[in-house]
Assembly symmetry: C3
Homo-oligomer: 345 residues x 3
């Protein structure tokens, strides 16, 4: 359903001051470039200030300090326009508020407990001993195992699977087909092949966590795998058994973290990163895209990288050949230095 707000309602929601007609109706958000009448836009990056002159937006979120260049549109002045845009976006979300509902095709075990304000969609299955909090949204074809807890205000989008003994905090958003609590990849080698180590721990997700589509978070071997409050995890991320993801850490898509590694709070892992097992990364560690982290990072705030960077294929092929000669090149340089030293002396 399309949603409408007056400028003053939005200003109040984002904590800003209206400059212009506060009764103007806003029906959506847009960039400055593509805005139409009725849209609210925002100027977060000075690079885009040039679009202020030509935008068709009805109003724009701007910094308190900005000299407004155009008189015929309205402004909401805020301390941080990008943050204000984020807050405003919540007003226009396409999701409806959760209303109490249990679909007839949902299957809820008689010993599960579902809060009266929860929404349980068609095809959802909830196992014995599980409890679903107030205002929780359980999407279509979601499977919740036994002895799980889903905290109030959390959303499990269609197709999410929680195995048994998975605990999700409040106000989380778990995207479709994410799997929480599958077995960690633990096996002991034996003469007959791999002997499975049954994974007896669970998964604990804190409050306000977002987990992307098709992401997997394995249950712990003996104790739990943990994602702390406010962490955000993108799509297709693999989090192995007994990993601990610190508070407010952000992990981009296609990243994999091996078993028992601890990622410090407020860290950022870019896309396609790999982190080896049994490491500890200090707080605010930043890992650049597609890097492999194979050693612990003990100082907070470090930036770590690996890889060779993008290159045209032809020159890259030549350099890759030389990479394999690097050790001999280094030795030849040392020998040259010795010879030149001898000649000079």
């Amino acid at each position: 359903m399309p949603k409408h707000y007056t400028l003053s309602e939005i200003a109040q929601h984002v904590g800003g001051q209206v400059e212009g007609d506060e009764h103007l109706q806003i029906a959506g958000l847009s960039t400055l470039e593509s805005a139409q009448s009725g849209n609210l836009s925002f100027l977060a990056n000075p690079r885009y200030a040039k679009y202020l002159k030509s935008t068709n937006a009805t109003a724009v979120l701007v910094a308190e300090t900005l000299e407004p260049p155009k008189a015929d549109i309205a402004y909401i002045r805020v301390p941080n326009p990008y943050l204000a845009y984020a807050k405003a976006s919540a007003l226009f979300d396409w999701r409806d508020d959760v209303t109490p509902h249990v679909a007839t095709s949902a299957v809820i075990h008689c010993e599960a407990s579902v809060a009266p304000t929860a929404f349980i969609a068609d095809g959802a299955v909830i196992g014995t001993g599980s409890s679903i909090g107030e205002g929780v949204y359980v999407g279509p074809n979601v499977t919740i195992g036994r002895y799980c807890h889903v905290g109030s205000g959390t959303r499990l989008e269609a197709g999410v699977v929680l195995y048994d003994h998975v605990n999700v905090g409040e106000r989380c958003l778990i995207h479709s087909n994410a799997v929480l609590g599958a077995d960690g990849f633990g096996f002991a080698p034996s003469a007959n092949g791999w002997e499975k180590i049954h994974q007896l721990g669970g998964v604990r997700i804190g409050h306000g966590v977002e987990i992307g589509a098709n992401t997997t978070i394995d249950r712990g071997a003996l104790s739990d795998t943990v994602v702390e409050d406010g962490a955000i995890i993108d799509n297709l991320v693999q989090i192995a058994h007994n990993v601990v993801i610190g508070e407010k850490t952000a992990i981009a898509g296609c990243t994999g973290i091996a078993g028992s590694t601890k990622i410090g709070a407020r860290s950022t892992l870019a896309g396609g990163v790999g982190v080896a097992g049994h490491l500890v990364l200090a707080e605010k560690t930043h890992v650049t895209a597609m890097s492999l982290v194979s050693r612990s990072v003990t100082e907070p705030g470090q930036v770590v990288s690996s890889g060779t960077g993008q290159e045209g294929h032809t020159s890259w092929k030549r350099n890759v050949v030389r990479f394999k000669q690097l050790d001999s090149m280094a030795k030849r340089i040392a020998l040259l230095e010795q010879k030149v030293e001898n000649i000079s002396s």
Copy 2:
């Protein structure tokens, strides 16, 4: 159900000329090496011409120019045997033609519209305002949100999830557990942690697109994420918000593309590639396996790469140590050049 065709039926389907008995019955496709009687095979790569002598195939798709070395089998002569094999393969697909059907356990919202010729399997859920075109196949346990459109002739295999406001074109094939329309990974940093940027755009998939199993295509932040006509995308690919995948571009498995990047038409991304956000890749860009693309590619037809290439572990470890000395090695070479120059002059 096993399917049978005469050689002339197949020749007509692939646009070729029969050389031999056109009434021969063909019951399946096979390689030259493993063919049995009743099989049609193909010779696309001259390397395999030696197998023509010994194959048990009943007939072989060959180039118009090939000198056939074996008299007792039949041929279909075609301009392009590999393409003809692709066309012939469609005749033997294990999927049945879609027949009108709505399973009793499917749940279709009363304000959704389903074409009378569509097939809706068990456990499928279709939300309000969505429309399902003629001859569409909606597999078991598929979830289609609200206000989606699925174009005629498209197949959504078991477990696919379309969030609200996802638009899929005609004749697409979307494989199991793929997720279209989950939230893009957008958050504004604040003093209290990450403030979610609600993702208000949708997803638009063109006609004739194939999307692999467990692939994720996020909805846009303000405008839509777009996959253009004829693009093919493999399994476990992550396509972030507001990405545009050009027409007929091919993306192999485990690749990730970060937000707002535009991949030009007819490009190919090999497996495990990563593309950073906000880039533009020109048409016909080719990226080799597991490369990281961190800058735009402005010229069409470029091949880009990164990485060091495969190596034995022992020598690799030595060279990796030297990689970290590369800058100092370069400076030592420059110094040596200076010294040798001084000695020589």
Copy 3:
């Protein structure tokens, strides 16, 4: 349900000798450090021997040769404590034994056959011509296509999808939302774009195989994709059409293997590895994390690697610049060697 065993029951299960009171009750497993009364722990790595003195465990699995340093706890002496821990873990698994059950909301085609001892959960869909063996567990919202076979004792966790003609052996464990039998990524280029090569083969999974959550194993183009007995595959792994994974091979998360490649038996692929198509890797090949394998490995037991290793971002950036000068650096070294040679002679 909590499970309890006497020490002698556990000793018998793991093949060890009790040293102490064999009637002691064990209610769970734990590490030495975090053990509580009633827990069984294990000492596999001599590094942790120091914790034997302080552990609160009731009993510990130790090597036959270990000199026990603490008299007031019990021991089970075994040839291999880590393997014994693995075996003991099976006793405490949170999964119940499979009991015969067909949920009322499951949909089983009238021409499918389900063994009387199988468990079919809510929302499961089983297609025509498929057969489900004795003691099989089919989890909630699992989709099994047509003409599949699932061997006895196998578990398909919630949301797993088997396409048509997929054959899974006995005693396998396939984790949630894994997809077996989606189309291999096969297309022939044509003037009009990509012509789909319909994938006419199937998937064959051996006995005792474990497959991780959201992993994808594509069906073969003409013949089958094969995973041999005792192989273990982690989460988010992509196995392309016509790959063969050898017996007891282990593949860690986020790895991708391109079409028609054969991975030898008892190999190990670490996380995030990529293997190009049409390669053959000999038995016991070991690939280190995030390496790209682009050539076959003909000798068994080789270790292969690629990449540059982790580095601080600032020095890494300098070295990456030099990587692109590597070929010219090598030539400058050769020239220097020539000049020094000339000077010296």
